[in-house]
Symmetry: C2
Subunit: 375 residues, 2 copies
């Protein structure tokens, strides 16, 4: 089994889930809360995890995580955490469940309301302690298991990205076995999330060559294996590589992300549509690849190289073709976003944390144009 030790200790391989009881003990977690969702339960993955923990029947479980995790859900989970006198969190699921778990751990460790930790008002500095988190992904895309961040839709409608090194889980258990049953559509959408993380992290102007090196490796793996994983979910080699690409994407985005994520976060908070974060990223990515073309030609050549394309290849076209091949929609319009919604989306994109690390400056007027282009 691979044990990676860059941002946090990461157990990575088929069967890694067996490390869970030992890690609970090592971290001194005697009464964990499991934060998960109904899909994970229905797929039998919650039972798999409970099956490796002795005395699991008494563990409190919050399985009401929404597709885009909300402050309301985080507070409900935190109530369950407190009433059961929990001392740590197991985040089990995709990015939503792991992120909700991180929010609970922050509330448990530092108190107050989530708003207090808003990174846009310097909230990261107000993070005191965080309860221990064991993150167990059941999709390959978010990388939240090793990432500094978590994303929550606030009660006032904003979708906030909280970020601090203190929010990196205490340990990540990455077991590709848990993804073998992931449906093709979710495999495609979450897989393109990993692709987008790698690409946007690389294009961020923050100087961090090791992170970039990891991003190129992740992109190479994701680009070579996503179609295989989508078309044959039981392809273990493809599943292993997609999960690794996901973890690597999050290791890369310590550099920050870019306009794809700003726009995706803005659209992901729309309460009526419940749009999937990975699908949004996949659909917006070609527009931003076109927009940024020319700002970093060396990076574009290395992106092409990692994707097995000739130098100077049209990366936006390549992503569009790949989206089509794995059954993702062509644009935001096909997902239900309309022109009328754009004025509401723009200020959220401008205010998003990812707007701080775009390779080209993006203001409200530019975002308006970009949203139109991405429809």
């Amino acid at each position: 089994m691979a044990i990676l030790n860059y941002l946090t200790t990461t157990y990575f391989d088929f069967g890694a889930i067996r490390m869970l009881p030992k890690e609970l003990e090592r971290l001194g977690i005697h009464r964990p809360l499991i934060a998960t969702d109904r899909g994970v339960r229905a797929a039998g993955l919650l039972d798999t995890v409970l099956g490796v923990i002795p005395g699991a029947s008494s563990i409190p479980i919050f399985d009401d995580t929404p597709g885009n995790p909300t402050e309301v859900a985080a507070l409900a989970a935190f109530d369950l955490y407190r009433s059961n006198e929990c001392d740590g969190v197991i985040g089990l699921g995709g990015g939503s469940s792991m992120d909700l778990g991180k929010a609970v751990a922050l509330l448990a460790g530092s108190g107050g309301s989530l708003d207090r930790y808003d990174p846009l008002t310097g909230g990261a500095r107000r993070i005191d302690r965080v309860a221990p988190v064991i993150a167990i992904p059941t999709t390959s895309g978010t990388g939240s298991e090793v990432s500094v961040g978590f994303v929550i839709v606030m009660q006032d409608g904003r979708k906030l990205t909280f970020a601090s090194p203190k929010m990196i889980p205490s340990v990540a258990i990455c077991d590709p076995e848990l993804t073998l049953g992931l449906p093709a559509a979710l495999t495609a959408a979450t897989g393109m999330d990993a692709v987008t993380h790698c690409i946007e992290a690389i294009l961020s102007p923050v100087v961090n060559p090791p992170a970039e090196g990891i991003g190129y490796d992740g992109l190479r793996r994701a680009w070579r294996h996503i179609e295989r994983a989508v078309h044959d979910g039981s392809d273990r080699e493809a599943r292993w590589n997609m999960m690794m690409a996901s973890t690597e994407g999050a290791m890369a985005f310590v550099k920050g992300l870019g306009a794809v994520h700003s726009m995706s976060h803005a659209a992901g908070r729309l309460p009526g549509l419940r749009l999937h974060h990975g699908t949004l990223n996949a659909v917006i990515l070609p527009t931003i690849l076109r927009f940024n073309a020319g700002t970093a030609p060396d990076k574009y050549d290395r992106l092409a190289e990692a994707m097995g394309l000739p130098a100077g290849a049209d990366l936006a076209e390549a992503v569009l073709a790949r989206n089509a091949a794995i059954g993702l929609p062509e644009g935001l319009g096909a997902m239900g976003v309309t022109e009328e919604m754009i004025p509401d989306l723009v200020p959220h994109a401008v205010a998003d944390l990812s707007s701080r690390t775009t390779p080209r400056t993006v203001d409200a007027e530019v975002y308006r144009i970009l949203f139109h282009a991405a429809l």
Copy 2:
């Protein structure tokens, strides 16, 4: 300034040395020992460093680090550490000074004799505490500032590689300014050390894709900038990239190294010859690239890609040509190693820690052949 946070906090840029007083304070080091060597002092770099520390005149300095650091020198430095009641170490120099500083920090934190921590007898588990170390490289090659290891020639003549995550310095301050005056010959030799770290780490069979991604990035930088740095030491872009490649090489070799290092360590301990570790690596590397060819064709293709060569290119020939272009010797024979010495070298190479992570199994008979080939 880039701040990297993978294995340890790393401040990286021209002028990074100004972080030193703040880091001494953060780590609670009130009375550091500076471990360095006469070359660093003669180059004025010790004065540069003392110049940024308030009250520097009272700091005890050990500047007797030999080219290949010895247990004898480490004990002498530790005596100085104890008699001055020091509470931390600044390792300032190339790999030798930083490694000696690490040895002192281990003795200060865990006591006993160095032999007790021999990794070949499970010594890493016996490391209890390690005094805080601030590592400041003045060459670009070793990467010891972020690495888990240090290498010491023991009193019984063995050259041992100590390795433990606890031996990663508390903080690394990488200021390429300190390398601008490094002579061409040392720039070449240390630079090829970084190249070798990246290549051997990648070829190690240990599974760690993020480390491999970092290794490819480091190799790409080193390969593109080493000639520039050798031929014009004042080329700041080349110096920055060589220092980054060096740091990345050490981040990559958490995967372990290979037969180049086993052979290089064996030859580096010869007391009469005082052979330079980087030069040894450069000279042995082509032989091992030929030996390993065919074991990992995908990795060889990616190595070629990172070096800007076509897939299937002869990597050994490329390294030989590069060695010649930067003034390094052609083989071990040109460095003074003779056929008669080989029987003495072989068992040391076999016992070396790096022999555990070679892509092809290497035994005594094979090492004998490889040493002959590398002459």
